[in-house]
């Protein structure tokens, strides 16, 4: 695991030096603006507006980073041939892949944690002291992070066998399809044959169910998230990401570099 750690820390350093974390400035400005504006226009629902807006921003910014940087993690190294010298070291290709994944997840963790601090600061300006229910936000942030890790794994899988542009399209396509996985499973349409329904149900189980990770509505209204859901989502994200990364490693380990 030493090699994985070495690649991961370097990937994190790359993200920092390439100013990926500058998005935090945008988030901070958004939260400050929202806190000022919400205080003036929404009486009584300031808290839920701030929470919804903040969590949405954390999710969207995170998805943007996970997809675009996730796809570039492998493809950029192949295009620029920085990978050549590295793979001539005693490093397995799967170690490189896992290290890259770990490095971006590390970056997203720091980024998401910083945004969560910004969200609490904005919340504090419209309401203080904070209440116990406000800490449920952390659960929502944690689930967003799990979702982002899964997106990074998918982005890496696609970038292992196709062009960066197609990999971005596939990842975003799968993300949006995954948001409707639950609907596909429970769909009751009169016009569909039982076989088609079965097929849809099968597909819905294969798709990553991203809606599982969305508890924004629950925490925005100060309600708690059941612990079982948190455990289930954690297990689901780990298992799904592991399968996706194993697939990516299988493809990448036999890939001829240019």
């Amino acid at each position: 695991m030493r090699n994985v750690w070495v690649v991961a820390t370097n990937t994190f350093r790359e993200a920092v030096r390439d100013r990926v974390l500058y998005n935090l400035v945008f988030f901070a400005l958004l939260m400050m603006g929202a806190a000022i504006l919400v205080g003036q226009i929404s009486i009584g629902i300031e808290e839920s507006v701030i929470v919804s807006l903040g969590l949405s921003a954390i999710s969207v910014i995170g998805i943007f980073i996970a997809v675009f940087i996730g796809v570039g993690l492998v493809s950029k190294e192949m295009d620029k041939r920085t990978l050549y010298a590295l793979l001539a070291k005693p490093v397995q290709r799967w170690e490189f892949l896992l290290g890259k994944f770990g490095g971006l997840v590390m970056t997203l963790t720091v980024n998401t944690a910083a945004m969560a601090v910004g969200l609490y600061a904005a919340l504090w300006t419209v309401k203080h002291p904070l209440e116990r229910s406000d800490w449920y936000l952390l659960v929502a942030v944690y689930l967003i992070l799990l979702k982002l890790a899964l997106i990074v794994a998918l982005a890496m899988l696609f970038s292992c066998f196709t062009t960066p542009f197609l990999a971005i399209l596939f990842t975003l396509g799968l993300y949006f399809a995954g948001l409707f996985a639950e609907d596909l499973r429970t769909m009751q349409a009169i016009s569909l044959t039982p076989e088609t329904m079965k097929l849809f149900r099968g597909i819905s189980y294969l798709l990553p169910n991203f809606e599982n990770f969305n508890v924004m509505g629950v925490v925005a209204h100060g309600r708690s998230v059941p612990a079982t859901l948190v455990w289930q989502d954690t297990g689901y994200a780990i298992l799904y990401a592991a399968i996706v990364l194993a697939g990516a490693a299988m493809i990448f380990s036999r890939r001829n570099l240019k």
């Binding site: 090699n3 370097n10 041939r81 050549y84 010298a85 070291k89 490093v91």
Partner: protein
Amino acid sequence: MPSVAIEIENLSKEYPFGFLHLRKRRSLENLTMQVQAGDVFGFLGPNGAGKSTTIKLLMRLIFPTSGTARILGKSIEDVSMHQDIGYLPEQPYFYDYLTAAELLDYFARFHGLRESDRRERVQRILKRVGLDTAKKIQLRKYSKGMLQRAGLAQAILHDPQVVVLDEPMSGLDPLGRREVRDIILGLKKEGRTVLFSTHILSDAEMLCDRVGVIVGGKLRGVGTPGEMVGIQTQGMEILFELDGSAKKPALLEKAAKTGERYRVQLPEAELYNALDQLKEAGARILSVAQIKPTLEEFFMNLVDADRAQANAVEVSGR
């Protein structure tokens, strides 16, 4: 250490092409050769001959269609063999957000070196490749030559037994080329095996114990530079200057004049007679040298033969 450092057996590589990847282009055909431990081996060939393909196969950057290879007795499939191998890619490009010192430290960590050891090695190697004054500059600000040196540094950082260099002189000015030559000779002196590809034949003649010539994906010959071109002397060449007032020797008719100097080529048997004539005429002899076919001539003959063969196949196929 085994007496054979690199063994390649029937290594072939085909690339699929066309819309459905159904057609195949062969870049390397049944390559079989050995590099002895401690040798500097030059891998020669024109662009697209298969040199880089062979090196990439050895470094497992691409995978062979058929055949095997071993380095220091270990299969190229075995990642642990890279503990004892250094590799410089062709036109190297590294993480441009790192400094040279950070890059070397990063690579050294894969070899399990401790921090104090890493620091000492990085300093030593940067000095050896002439980058010690630029070690804190990010690689995005490096020139091509400096990147080449950084690449060379990472290749020899961990004291590998076998060093594989893909076009190490490419992009370097004459001073840089000389420094790389010195490093290669230094590695040989330390008993390391060096395999390097090049299309600059003078470098190969100067550095290599043995060379292999590859053209059109096929190995056309392996041997010492002398063996490759033949040891037969084709004659002698005398370079001399003549005082204007001196008696003109008879051989002057055969000589070519460049500036104040004369150059004459003659059979070896006529050498002493010619020298006597020049002595009598009071000529100042600047040099007497054997005329031998160069590696370049040998190389060009192979390339021409290969092109002629390719044209013949094309014509008969029409």
